[in-house]
């Protein structure tokens, strides 16, 4: 990208050359979706970073001395998160020990390439990197799993395994927290998806900035209020090195529709994204709705609302040559479908409370 030199390019005389509404000096470079302000590149860096700092402070995301793992995929969000968090840690003296934590699902031509990006980030940002692989943790790569089960339901395996893999990697790093690059658009999308699936447990949880505080390692989302557009603009202006290829196995059509819908709404009214998050935050779940209750997996000890955690059930199926085991619709209140790993049956363990449900972190 040779065209994008730092510093102001000589603007041609045209409609695009208005001044930044914040400094009034430099040429505006983007329109902020959140506020519709027109600001220059330098002011954008300042407000973008300050808002994330403010989110971190207002929500007490970290304590001095915390060891924090950044879930790093090599994609735009986690790359920008690693960059911004290292900056803020230095600038505001958070006194955090930061690590990059990546999961190698074993997807040839996709994850192997994106992990190369993370390895460059390790050097660029001076953050130690830990990679945990499905192969080591479960004995199966996603390539193996797809060979066994085909291209249907494979995302269920991947999602369940990844969630646990991040926790296991974080335990190996002995960190106090995991941060992920989920942004405002992602969260709005998840609110919608949870409504569409009737997944009440997740609906109430998916807007929390921190989840899993009762679990082994809490997770938080410093980009909860950060628009995807701004993350990508930031990465572009700063020339950050990120990887952008769609997973070769992942045409997650249902989520794709929700995503497209959100983007269409954003074009008409950019605030829609924050408003959906706000709606999600303010839902009050009726106290007669039964919620799954958290326990631990009898086999591996991971948090689970069932006797065996979903990863163990899926792994059982794979190892016994019955990969469909644990896949598919489960009877119950939360109507788990193929992509929904909670088997919320009306067992005696289900009671109605909203705290600390079911130990996973799909938001």
């Amino acid at each position: 990208m040779d065209s994008a030199v730092d510093g102001p390019r000589q603007p041609p005389a045209r409609a695009g050359s208005r001044l930044c509404t914040r400094c009034g000096e430099r040429k505006a470079a983007l329109k902020r979706p959140k506020t519709l302000e027109q600001i220059c590149r330098e002011c954008f860096y300042v407000v973008f970073e300050d808002e994330i700092h403010q989110t971190i402070v207002d929500n007490n995301l970290f304590k001095p001395g915390d060891r924090v793992a950044i879930g790093a995929s090599g994609g735009k969000d986690s790359t920008v998160l690693a960059y911004v968090l290292s900056e803020l840690n230095r600038r505001h003296k958070y006194c955090l020990d930061l690590f990059l934590l990546s999961v190698d699902e074993g997807i040839t031509g996709y994850r192997d390439d994106s992990l190369e990006t993370v390895k460059r980030n390790e050097i660029q940002y001076g953050l130690p990197l830990k990679i945990v692989s499905y192969k080591d943790l479960y004995g199966w790569t996603m390539d193996d799993i797809v060979k066994a089960i085909g291209l249907k339901n494979n995302c269920t395996f991947c999602g369940v395994f990844r969630r646990q893999a991040l926790d296991r990697g974080a335990a190996l790093l002995k960190v106090d927290k995991i941060v992920t690059g989920h942004n405002a658009d992602d969260i709005a999308e998840t609110v919608l998806l949870n409504i569409l699936r009737g997944d009440i447990a997740r609906l109430s949880r998916c807007t929390f900035i921190t989840t899993g505080e009762d679990g082994p390692i809490p997770r938080c989302k410093p980009f909860k209020y950060t628009y995807e557009k701004e993350i990508v603009m930031y990465a572009y202006f700063k020339k950050l090195d990120y990887f952008s290829t769609e997973c070769i196995y992942s045409p997650n059509a249902y989520r794709g529709f929700a995503r497209e819908f959100i983007k269409d709404l954003e074009r008409m009214r950019p605030r829609a994204i924050l408003d959906i998050i706000k709606s999600g935050e303010n839902f009050r779940i009726s106290t007669t709705t039964r919620m799954p209750e958290q326990g631990t997996c009898e086999r591996c000890g991971y948090i689970s609302s069932q006797k065996l955690c979903k990863a163990c059930v899926l792994l059982d199926g794979l190892n016994r040559g019955l990969p469909k085991l644990g896949i598919g619709r489960t009877k119950g209140i939360a109507g788990g479908d193929g992509d929904c790993e909670q088997q919320a049956t009306r067992s005696e363990r289900n009671r109605s409370s909203l705290q600390g449900k079911h130990g996973n972190f799909d938001f």
Binding site: R9, Q38, D186
Partner: protein, 100 residues
């Protein structure tokens, strides 16, 4: 009109050999010698995009979620589809829709 077009964030995968940067020479075809973004998008669709044009375009504009910059300025500040291009302009398209 000579333009430099750049495709990123995964959009390059829709183009021949996944080439990110394209130096192009565009003939204005509407008589008044102007090239506007709307015309450029149509030109890109018929001349550069090799597969899945729906990943890039929706209706007569880019697909929501694709960012456009003209000379490193958000096209929303330049008039969007009606933005007039000039000789040697650099237009960047970045998809935000690929994994994070």
């Amino acid at each position: 009109m000579h333009l430099t077009l750049e495709f990123g964030g995964g959009l390059e995968l829709l183009l021949e050999k996944s080439t990110k940067v394209h130096k192009v020479d565009l003939q204005p075809n509407d008589g008044d010698g102007k090239v506007v973004m709307k015309g450029l998008l149509a030109w890109v669709k018929s001349n550069l995009i090799k597969e899945r044009p729906e990943m890039f375009l929706k209706g007569d504009s880019v697909r929501p979620g694709v960012l456009v910059l003209i000379n490193d300025c958000d096209w929303e500040l330049c008039g969007g589809l009606d933005a007039e291009l000039e000789e040697k302009d650099v237009v960047v398209f970045i998809s935000t829709l690929h994994g994070g």
